[in-house]
Amino acid sequence: MLNRTADNVARATPEPLAKKIRGISDKGLAWLFISPTILLLLAINIFPLFWAIYLSFTNYRANRPNEVVKNLGFANYQRILGDQDIWIAMQTTAHFVFWTILLQTVIGFTLAWLIDRKFRGHAFWTTIILVPMMLSPAVVGNFWRFLYEPQIGLFSYVISFVTGIPPTNVQMLSNVELAPWSIIIVDTWMWTPYVMLICLAGLRSIPEYIYEAAEVDRASNWRQFWSITLPMALPFIMLAVLFRGIENFKMFDMVNLLTGGGPGSTTEVASITLKRQAFESWRTGYSSAFAIILFVAVFGLANIYVKALNKVKQR
């Protein structure tokens, strides 16, 4: 049937076009089909990357196009790696990534495990839990800024109710100690459902007969969790950690909306510093070098992590 259709199509193809097509090999045809995508990728991904690498060795400033561009060698890289403020921003980023991933993984997996129990109304609760993830970060940022407001914010009143501290003293966004946590709380609230979904997929992929066999062997629930559930869901958990890690490493929107990097520079993560250097100070060469350093760091760490993930999957 398929051959007959192909024959019909071949017969219906006009002779000049057929001649042209007959001249293209399968490989050629494949290249023909994927070339638009490759060209697009080259234009919007690969070329800018190489251009940024080139700029990172110069003193180029996008707001001074008429100025002579000087080659600085590795001076930009040396300056960045020797800049204490950059290291502080990197530490802030690491602190933020570590705590958000830890909280989101623990809470996300726990929620997935509970939802997987398939209790009455579990579908409804799954939908409710997923709501924060569906909201725009801009909405979430503004919404939480109001919640954190010391004079009228609901969050401050809840904390005040629980602890007895006056709500005006609960200054989540102004206090140096609390401001990083205010962002961690919001990010965890928003993205835990995402981790939960991936973990839930992992839990649902574990065949039921393994648990049945464990039951026959009289394995306790705890033993089943440690020996079956966790190891078999681990690749999924690790995948969720990878996705959230990459996302949070480049976190910008929530920090910008909630604290703008303040108070002082206590929540100034690397992406905020990069944006300020690139689009406020217009140090294009310098910021390109910083972007390359960040790219190499994320790329390197992600590679190591993916290798570990593959090992876990092969076990």
Binding site: Q151, S174, V176, N256, G260, G262, G264, S265, F279
Partner: protein, 443 residues
């Protein structure tokens, strides 16, 4: 069939022609770019007269202050044609002139007999000249602005508060003349119950993202003796930026933030300040003068309830205020420069400037502000005039953005986050600014 075809062709031609005619009619429309704020609405109203007189339509591109610099500096840097006219911030003038974004207006001013002597001198230096104090003009002073203070006149005039204040501080409760007095007033009102509501001392600038805390801190530092550089040796900042007097000024600003601002006011700028004052949270409010017409009209805090005062004096009696405001420039990438210049000529007219003031804009024309009727024309007019006489501005160098970023970081780290000392912050600022000027090859 033929007649149907003719009818269709005729209809198509008519539609095409009408579209073309409408395009021609709008071809000379000018686009004016500015910040989205109250004076911009006044300018829309004012510009209707220009359209009436010349037939040139006006379109407006207004962007909120928080994105104003990012948006329009990007536009200028990319040689965009969106704006024919731009009311750019005073600090942009150096970069816009040196990078060729603005049309130089000297020849045009000469031809049209527009004299810069007719404008308030501080606004000419601040908004039009680059290099500063040289007769090279890149903008016409458009919107005079300066940081000043508003206060709750109704609270200040309560007899019981006046008595308590006098007993405590030994002077009559009123608009403070010095920064020490300002702090005393702020402390007096901090967390006080007024009409069953907790109120606070003062709203000051603490914003981190754009320029807020720099504008606020500088407003105090100038009067304490801060100088940007050695007056005899440009770009020499050691001992001037971080002088003992500057350190005292910055310490004062932090003390004011710590003692007397509303809870959570760690990222407050123009909008947040207006909100704090309008909602009856604060007794005093630091803000640019452009906010005053709106506050004066406010039902809850305006009218007889509001008063205005000039930025107070420092410990040695020096008194300065941070300049705000902008000049209007013709964008060099515009295809409609001739029409844009027509707008500038029209805007410089005395009657237009008088109407500009009456609508809520702040004219910089001497003929308007030196009119004997001017001080009584609005309750805040005299304070505006007095403030404009003592202005100082931030760097207007082409590298003003990294210079501003450095001060934002250093001031916020110290004042709001409480990291290090005032001396550390100002020493760090000298280091950062030196680096910027070295990168520019100016040191």
């Amino acid at each position: 069939m033929k007649s149907t075809l003719k009818l269709a062709l005729g209809l198509a031609s008519a539609i095409f022609a009408s579209t073309a005619v409408s395009n021609v009619a709008h071809a000379e429309d000018l686009t004016l770019c500015w910040a989205a704020w109250d004076p911009a609405n006044a300018l829309v109203e004012l510009s209707k007269d220009f359209t009436k007189e010349t037939g040139i339509g006006m379109k407006f591109e207004f962007v909120p202050w928080t994105n104003y610099a990012d948006r329009f500096l990007n536009e200028l840097n990319s040689h965009g044609k969106l704006c024919d006219l731009i009311i750019g911030d005073s600090q942009w003038i150096g970069g816009a002139a040196e990078n060729g974004h603005y049309v130089k207006l000297n020849d045009f001013f000469d031809k049209e007999k527009i004299s810069m002597d007719d404008f308030v001198p501080a606004t000419v230096v601040g908004y039009s000249e680059w290099p500063k104090n040289t007769p090279n003009y890149w903008a016409l002073p458009a919107m005079g602005d300066v940081v000043g203070w508003t206060y709750r006149k109704d609270w200040f005039s309560r007899p019981e508060l006046q008595k308590e204040f006098k007993d405590k501080y030994g002077w009559d409760l009123g608009p403070p003349q010095t920064f020490d007095q300002l702090k005393q007033v702020a402390e007096f009102f901090q967390k006080r119950q007024i009409d069953g509501k907790t109120v606070y001392g003062a709203s000051i600038y603490t914003e981190r993202g754009s320029e807020g805390i720099t504008m606020g801190a500088m407003d105090v530092l100038y009067s304490y003796g801060f100088q940007y550089e050695n007056p005899k040796k440009p770009y020499e900042m050691e001992g001037y930026v971080n002088s003992e007097k500057s350190v005292k000024g910055l310490e004062f600003y932090k003390a004011l933030y710590d003692c007397c601002t509303p809870p959570g006011a760690s990222n407050s700028y123009m909008g947040e300040g207006v909100d704090a004052f309008k909602s009856g949270q604060v007794a005093m409010h630091m803000n640019f003068a452009f906010t005053w017409p709106g506050l004066q009209k406010d039902e809850n805090v305006g009218g007889d309830k509001i008063g205005y005062f000039v930025n107070p004096k420092g410990p040695d009696g020096d008194q300065f205020a941070q300049l705000g405001g902008q000049g209007i420039s013709v964008v060099s990438y515009s295809d409609k420069q001739e029409s844009a210049l027509k707008y500038i000529k029209w805007f410089a007219n005395k009657d237009v400037q008088a109407k500009w003031w009456s609508l809520g804009g702040y004219s910089c024309l001497n003929a308007v502000v030196k009119d004997p009727k001017f001080p009584a024309s609005q309750p805040y007019a005299q304070t505006f005039l007095d403030s404009m006489a003592i202005v100082k501005d931030f760097w207007a160098e082409p590298s003003y953005a990294p210079l501003l970023q450095a001060s934002q970081k250093r001031f916020h780290d110290y004042v709001v986050a409480g990291q290090g000392s005032a001396k550390d912050a100002l020493d760090g600022l000298v280091k950062d600014w030196t680096q910027v000027f070295q990168d520019d090859g100016k040191m």
